[in-house]
């Protein structure tokens, strides 16, 4: 192992790392918003809305993420030319967001449904309608319960982003591979691995802090 040589790869790896982090943050953020609506749909009394959300979750949770990425980037433009997403980063973001939304929807639904029924009754007895009850009483209480599983989801997505290298997006995984192929240096995986571990450590740390912050009232 030539440490000197390995260090020269670091700037390129950092560039790839930026793509990985951006993909993760954007996808989980968009996925959270979409997931919240899916979760509200899943607990809705309207069986049509519930069914629609169920099908969405079924499809995106039940099929390979790589297939979803390929479908959005390669197949969709051929089926609907208007849906031509030429930018690889955008296509990857869309696929990862849609995918993580399915997982996050179930996380959010579980958090909302874990809120005591008495909270809904108290809100109703005070004259609050459904939307007020959700916005002011139920969803704020579910934040703390959401933090650990959402932290998990973040870590899962960091690793999932490696799949976007398959459509040629130069994330950390693809850059690592490129260097390996070009220079034939098997040790390149070590600094790359360290960066991935560093990323998960940072996200774990942030979510631990958040959890403590939101625990004040317990």
């Amino acid at each position: 192992m030539d440490l000197q040589k390995l260090l020269t790869y670091v700037p390129a790896l950092i560039d790839g790392c930026k793509i990985t982090v951006m993909l993760t943050v954007i996808s989980v953020s968009v996925g959270m918003i979409l997931g919240l609506f899916l979760a509200l749909g899943r607990i809705s009394k309207n069986i049509f809305i519930d069914g629609l959300c169920k099908v969405y979750i079924f499809v995106f949770r039940g099929s390979p993420l790589m297939m979803q990425i390929f479908f959005i980037y390669y197949a969709l433009p051929l089926i609907y030319p208007a849906m031509n997403i030429s930018d690889k980063f955008t296509a990857a973001c869309i696929a990862l967001s849609l995918n993580s939304a399915a997982y996050l929807a179930e996380i959010i639904r579980a958090a909302i449904q874990s809120i005591d029924k008495g909270q809904f009754e108290a809100a109703k007895a005070l004259g609050m309608n459904y939307s007020l009850t959700m916005r002011r009483v139920v969803i704020p209480q579910s934040y703390r319960r959401l933090i650990p599983p959402v932290g998990n989801e973040f870590i899962a997505v960091i690793k999932d982003t490696a799949l976007v290298s398959a459509i040629g997006l130069t994330d950390l995984m693809r850059i690592t591979n490129q260097i390996q192929v070009r220079n034939g240096d098997p040790w390149i995986y070590v600094p790359s691995l360290v960066i991935y571990l560093l990323l998960t450590t940072i996200f774990t740390f942030v979510f631990d802090k958040l959890e403590k912050k939101y625990s004040i009232y317990e």
Binding site: E121, L126, G127, Y130, I216
Partner: protein
């Protein structure tokens, strides 16, 4: 008439929990409902503010029709908004307090006035602080419910209900979840409320309170109102065997 129930039945599936209930409550009256567990006392209360839906009969709140059903079919179609409008004159206090754990005592109290009635924040805070004084908890203004004792939580819950300026207060076993030494402080607040002329319906196991504060006591068993009268009549001279048997067990 503040509250009127006409021939109300309530079924949970095939289980009948209320049987031909007729009840009238006048302005300023304090009605205490007693009876064994599972006799339908809480369900009766919950049917009044639409937390449960009746199966048959009619419910009026302040002479306004809240619900009319035959075999669970709603005869008077009401929108959620109309129901909220009618039920807003009812305040409710729960056995398990049901305070919002992510809000401080004051925030719990001012939430509904602000979000439902659009009361400006400063005014809501002023009302909230007055109510905290009224229940003897001004020092706990900024505490979260988890830092309060059961009795303190229940007093905050009473203040929270009062903040909506209800005409009628419903109490669903307000002291049943409390340690014995904390019961007194909650009953004290309720007693003061009764003295101030609040119309109250209290489901309770506190016979002392029913006797002392109640204008009328109702004994329920198996979903029926078996007997009602002044506390004197019910406690000293119960007519029904089952009332007598119940009182013998609890007194």
């Amino acid at each position: 008439m503040m509250i009127k129930m006409e021939n109300v039945d309530k079924y949970f599936g095939s289980l009948q929990v209320l049987n031909k209930i007729n009840l009238e409550v006048e302005q300023g009256e304090v009605v205490c409902i007693i009876g064994p567990s599972g006799s339908g006392k809480s369900t009766l209360l919950r049917c009044l503010n639409h937390l449960e839906h009746i199966t048959n009969g009619k419910v009026f709140i302040e002479d306004k029709l809240l619900d009319e059903r035959v075999h669970n079919k709603q005869l008077a179609k009401k929108t959620n908004k109309e129901i909220i409008q009618i039920c807003i004159s009812l305040g409710m206090v729960f056995q398990r307090f049901n305070l919002f754990p992510h809000m401080t005592a004051l925030e719990n109290i001012i939430e509904a006035p602000m979000s439902v009635k659009n009361v400006p924040k400063e005014e809501a805070i002023k009302i909230g602080e007055e109510l905290l004084v009224k229940v003897g908890l001004s020092s706990k203004r900024d505490e979260y419910p988890s830092r309060l004792s059961g009795g303190q939580q229940q007093r905050v819950a009473i203040a929270r209900a009062l903040a909506m300026q209800p005409d009628i207060m419903l109490f669903d076993e307000p002291t049943s979840a409390l340690d014995p030494e904390l019961v007194g402080e909650v009953l004290e607040v309720m007693k003061r409320l009764a003295t101030d002329g609040m119309t109250m319906i209290v489901v309770t196991h506190e016979m002392g309170f029913a006797r002392e504060v109640g204008d009328r006591v109702i004994f329920m068993d198996n979903g029926e109102i078996l007997e009602e009268g002044t506390p004197e009549e019910i406690f000293s001279n119960p007519k029904h065997d089952r009332t007598r048997a119940f009182l013998q067990k609890v007194l």
